[in-house]
């Protein structure tokens, strides 16, 4: 019996989704040089009305809309690995399942607000500003599920007490580091300027690099675990 | 069926129905009187309702055969409801007037 059938395919969707996310990220004109929260309503409206920007906003956000849930299969693979760990209860794998839908749903909400703002750029600038705020605040501040899945994964790894643990302890340590790097972004509402603002060092650069780092690290260790599991199963067969 | 028990249930039903029908009398207060708050009617309505509730609890729901704890609990709820409803009526009226 090969329980891991198809897991390799799911694993290799990760680099594809990564490339797509990165391209959409670069395509959105508000990300490369993140939009400042200090812009006035008129300036924000002008950003959406700019014929240079508008198509790029729409197309990048449509791509995000397609692929926002792209990480869920990878989270499902993590769940499968947690199930192989030496635990007494399925609580940790349940908890990752509970996290899996939360993050993408929130990201989709942010995506909807951006698309709504871009749908009728001639709206009253105050309304465009509100949609823009909603999008950025939702996007930046909603780190709860990302933190939770890192912390839960770390706990699961620490409590995986067997001869050959599924993941090494350093994976748990790095997950905790990622969780710590994500946390400051939750305070995004407190400042319109400086490192906490949504275009700032902590809320934008550190947060998004932490997400990227997590995807790369988990991609590698997950790949190694899955291939090791496959060869072990082939040997057993 | 145990004839004694059956008779008892029917007597209880008749008593409860008779009390309920007697409340139809309030309906005859048409016109002016109907549109005035009436503390007597209100308190009697609440008290009669709670008496009916207690009869239902004791007879139909067989609390009279139940352990003392359940009797006490249901009775304290009946008292609590009475105090709560009458109390909020009279206190509320006093606040509205004052």
């Amino acid at each position: 019996m090969r329980r891991a059938d198809g897991e390799v395919i799911l694993l290799w969707t990760l680099p594809a989704v990564g490339v797509i996310w990165l391209s959409a990220f670069l395509l959105f004109p508000g990300f490369v040089q993140p939009m400042s929260p200090t812009l006035s309503a008129e300036e924000v409206a002008a950003f959406y009305r700019d014929p240079e920007n508008l198509p790029r906003i729409r197309y990048s956000m449509i791509v995000f809309n397609w692929f926002a849930v792209g990480l869920i299969p990878v989270l499902a693979l993590i769940v499968m690995q947690i199930r192989r760990m030496a635990h007494r209860t399925p609580i940790f794998s349940y908890a990752i399942i509970a996290c899996a839908a939360g993050g993408p749903t929130i990201f989709l909400m942010a995506d909807l607000f951006w698309l709504l703002a871009a749908f009728r750029p001639m709206r009253d600038p105050q309304q465009t500003l509100m949609f823009n705020d909603l999008a950025w605040v939702t996007f930046s501040s909603q780190v709860g599920f990302l933190i939770a899945q890192s912390v839960i994964l770390a706990l699961a790894i620490y409590l995986d007490r067997q001869e050959r643990p599924v993941f090494r302890p350093w994976v748990a340590h790095s997950n905790l580091v990622v969780a710590a790097l994500l946390a400051p972004a939750a305070f995004v509402g407190l400042a319109l300027e400086g490192p906490l603002a949504w275009d700032g060092l902590l809320s934008f650069w550190v947060r998004n690099l932490a997400v990227g780092l997590w995807i790369v690290v988990m991609g590698f260790v997950l790949g190694r675990a899955i291939y090791r599991q496959r060869s072990a199963e082939e040997l057993a067969a | 069926m145990n004839a004694g028990f059956e008779k008892r249930l029917s007597v209880v039903l008749l008593a409860l129905s008779a009390i309920t029908l007697s409340q139809l009398g309030v309906g005859s207060l048409e016109g002016h009187a109907a549109l005035r708050p009436n503390a007597t009617i209100t308190s009697s309505a609440i008290v009669i309702a709670l008496i009916k509730v207690r009869i239902i609890l004791r007879e139909f729901m067989e609390v009279r055969h139940a352990p003392v704890l359940l009797c006490r609990l249901t009775d304290s709820w009946v008292v609590l409801a009475g105090v709560g409803l009458l109390g909020s009526y009279f206190v509320g009226m006093a606040i509205a007037r004052g």
Binding site: - | N2, F5, L9, T20, Q23, V26, P37, I95, A96
Partner: protein, 192 residues
């Protein structure tokens, strides 16, 4: 299972699951809280409440009360018959209860329809808000009660089941619908 052959009332027992009594007492407290809010709001604008209340027909309320009291009586008979292992009688009484519950249901819907026809809706005024709220939340308990009675009938139907405890638990739930209505009747239809 209870000792069903014993026709003498047993010394001190809780009818049905004691757990259901926790539900009964908790719901009774929640409803008491609703009632207190209603009475307090009512005393703050007595004229409005009385004027709207005059549009309710006391006779309909009395009819509803009589129907539910009778349904309580029949379900009590059902329990008693089941205890004496006359399951045929018990089943008849369970069906009678269902029928009476259904009469209440239809009559309540007709009353609501008539009030809406006359132009009194949920948002018409404060009295009618409370009227619809209290009758509707009670109605919801009644709908759950049909499910409960179905369980009771299901138990009585086959000799393989017939758990006296379950039947008594169902009956206790049904009586709760009845005694809560007695209070709602007093507060909506009779009180001045």
């Amino acid at each position: 299972m209870t000792n069903a052959a014993n026709t003498q009332p047993r010394p001190r027992f809780v009818p049905g699951q004691p757990d259901m009594w926790a539900f009964v007492l908790f719901e009774a407290l929640v409803f008491t809280a609703y009632f207190v809010v209603y009475v307090v709001r009512r005393t703050q604008s007595p004229e409005l409440f009385l004027e709207s209340q005059a549009h309710l027909d006391l006779r309909v309320g009395v009819f509803h009360t009589l129907v539910l009291l009778a349904s309580s009586w029949s379900v009590a008979r059902c329990v008693q018959a089941a205890r004496e292992r006359s399951f045929r009688t018990a089943l008849t009484n369970a069906f009678l209860t269902l029928l009476l519950g259904f009469v209440f249901l239809v009559s309540k819907v007709l009353e609501w329809a008539a009030k809406i026809e006359e132009g009194f809706g949920f948002t018409s005024d404060e009295f009618f808000s409370f009227y619809y709220f209290l009758t509707a939340i009670h109605f919801l308990h009644l709908l759950i009660g049909f499910g409960v009675l179905a369980i009771c009938v299901h138990q009585l139907w086959s000799p393989a089941r017939r758990s006296q405890e379950t039947i008594e638990t169902c009956a206790t739930y049904w009586h709760t619908i009845d005694f809560l209505w007695v209070l709602i009747f007093a507060l909506l239809y009779v009180m001045r």
